[in-house]
């Protein structure tokens, strides 16, 4: 149980990159549950554009960042749809991992690891916390 998670993290990221970079091109382009619920009352054409009626979706306004280079899950300037969607997905996965992983890494508790001597600092912390913890002897070793 003391294995480091990095091999698993890299493997998981590769799966996510394939899903966002390749499989995303086979996703359904129909409106999702929310959008379709907001389209109730309107009639739409084959491309899901509103052609008549009245419904909540008609109130929708443009996104503040509709001109972002990655807006609508495509890379601006890349004509090939497959490539554009896939590349935006890859960038999104990497960006989300960088921002999320970075923030979580900064927020983490550092008592058990990160210290120069993880074993001794862990033992001190554990001993100070609760003398009855029988895991005291083994826990710091297993964490290092």
């Amino acid at each position: 149980m003391n294995k480091r998670p990095w091999a698993f993290i890299v493997g998981g990221l590769l799966v996510a990159l394939v899903l966002a970079g390749v499989v995303s091109n086979y996703a359904s382009s129909h409106p999702d549950g929310l959008d379709s619920s907001l389209l109730k009352g309107c009639t739409v054409d084959a491309d899901d554009n509103i052609v008549g009626g009245s419904c909540p979706a008609q109130q929708a306004k443009d996104h503040e960042l509709a001109d972002s280079p990655l807006a609508d899950y495509g890379v601006r300037g890349i004509e090939n749809g497959f490539l554009s969607t896939g590349l935006s997905g890859v960038l999104g996965v990497l960006l989300t991992f960088a921002i999320g992983g970075g923030a979580f890494w900064l927020l983490r508790r550092r008592s058990s690891g990160g210290a120069v001597d993880g074993a001794s600092s862990g033992a001190v912390a554990a001993a100070g916390r609760d003398a009855s913890a029988e895991g005291t002897a083994s826990a710091p070793a297993s964490r290092s």
Binding site: R4, P5, W6, F8, I9, G12, V15, A16, L17, L19, A20, S24, A27, S28, S29, H30, D32, G33, L34, D35, S36, S37, L38, K40, D47, D48, C55, P56, A57, Q59, A60, K61, H63, E64, L65, S68, L70, D72, Y73, G92, V93, L94, L95, T96, F97, I99, G100, G101, A103, F104, W105, L107, R108, R109, S112, G113, S132, E134, A137, R143
Partner: protein, 238 residues
Amino acid sequence: METLAMHISNGIINGPVAAIFAALALATLTVCVLRGRRDLDDRLAPMAGLVAAFIFAVQMLNFPIFTAGVSGHLLGGALAAMLVGPWVGALCVSVVLVVQALVFGDGGVAMLGLNITNMALVGTAAAYLLIALLLRVLPRTPAGLAITAFVSAMLSVVVASQGFVVQYWLGGTTDLGSNLAGLAGTMAGAHLLIGIGEGLITATTVVTVAKVRPDLVYALRGLRPAAAPTVPAVGGVR
């Protein structure tokens, strides 16, 4: 033109209500950070980053539901709660929604509080309550884990969809009058079907992770007899 927008767009809910939910979301996320720090260690932190990245990827994969012309996609609250716990899990989904709103133009920036409330907070909370309950009653087998993941994912999506209905009741820009019940029904129906997909994806993912690295599944912590209790207490303390 096709767009891949999947979250609440600008203009759907009025500004004041959106602002109230932004404040509410910010306050709740602060609590999540404070409580989540207790869970975040050297192992959970990179795992949480991976969970966020994975949810981003799978949210792009809109799948057809059995109603013509309607698709669904993962929300991720149950998946995050199973793998990294409720507090960090809510933060994972929030990170995804922030990246989508600020970089991919999906979900209005002014609507971010609404989207975070529904998917990251309500969805994850509902999922975790169900997970905690189901893991107590179901057998501790891969099947029990799969059922827990499936059911909590499916129902949490329906609950999250009703969060939007409440928001629309408070600040929807089109007066639906007595048709609000219709919106609630349409949202619930569509998200029950989406929930089946959410449940299948969540169960498959969680069972796979549990097979490869059970120690990285938050929901399994404390369920298995850990190594520690088998060791006699040192000096008979306790």
